[in-house]
């Protein structure tokens, strides 16, 4: 089923806040063998992914048919333990190539004060018929 093109420009509700705990950061870092003293640079995917799941659920798209096409994080400041992060996903583009939907999304990741921490741009490839 192709994804509805009227989605372009739509903003989805913010995710519930994710409290960044030391345990969560350690488990994320150790899964990739990272020994950084910082919160790993790709950690905001955790909250970005929650926003993506909310979007897929709202649009009744099956996760197994999604392949990640592109991802970019641009930081306003580093993430630290104790941050409460929330992601708000918008659909910024959609094109279709032979039954495959290519969705562009932008998620803004904000802290408890509502300040922008990071912007996550993602391209998602929806393989409708394999």
């Amino acid at each position: 089923m192709p994804i509805d093109s009227s989605l372009i420009g739509r903003e989805f509700p913010p995710t519930p806040p994710l409290v960044v705990t030391a345990a969560e950061v350690t488990s994320f870092a150790s899964a990739t063998g990272s020994e950084t003293r910082r919160v790993p640079a790709t950690f905001p995917i955790v909250v970005t992914f929650r926003a993506l799941l909310g979007f897929l659920e709202a649009e009744q798209v099956e996760l197994a048919r999604i392949v990640h096409g592109e991802q970019r994080f641009t930081y306003e400041r580093p993430i630290v333990i104790g941050d409460e992060l929330s992601a708000t996903l918008s659909v910024t583009g959609l094109r279709q190539i032979e039954g495959t939907d290519i969705l562009r999304t932008t998620s803004t990741i904000t802290d408890a004060a509502g300040e922008l921490v990071c912007t996550a741009g993602a391209t998602l490839v929806h393989r409708a018929d394999a």
Partner: protein, 133 residues
């Protein structure tokens, strides 16, 4: 730590990705997409087999950058996922990450990465920008 001056080639780093790593990463990231764990489902949607999360490979790239830069603050990181990292049930897949410092200006160093698996590029235009000085 390598000197972050324009043109510096950073020593390549290699990482082995195993299926058990993908399970740990799925739990840590929340991305339980079965294509990263279940061979049958991966093939059902047209993939050659279980593939690593693209974000797993990007995390390895970030890990390499942290090592090269002595844990510098990352202000930007991104790439395209151009080819899958297929992870066999036995052993694993080896991801190789090379990098070169493209520019250093205004307190920021831009590192262009080259990320391959079995000699094939798996990330498109991978790049990280870190704060220096």
């Amino acid at each position: 730590m390598s000197a972050l001056t324009a043109g510096t080639e950073l020593a390549p780093q290699e990482f082995v990705v195993r299926r058990s790593d993908l399970v740990a990463y799925a739990d840590a990231s929340g991305d339980q997409n079965p294509i990263h764990q279940d061979e049958a489902i991966a093939q059902l949607v047209g993939l050659p087999g279980v593939i690593a999360h693209g974000m797993y490979t990007m995390a390895l790239a970030a890990r390499a950058v942290a090592t090269w830069t002595d844990d510098a603050e990352v202000v930007e990181i991104g790439c395209k996922f151009t080819a899958p990292v297929v992870v066999p049930a036995e052993g694993g897949a080896t991801v190789r990450i090379a990098g070169v410092v493209k520019s250093v200006a205004d307190g920021r160093a831009t590192i262009a990465l080259d990320v391959t698996c079995a000699g094939e590029k798996v990330l498109g235009a991978p790049k990280a920008v870190v704060r220096v000085g």
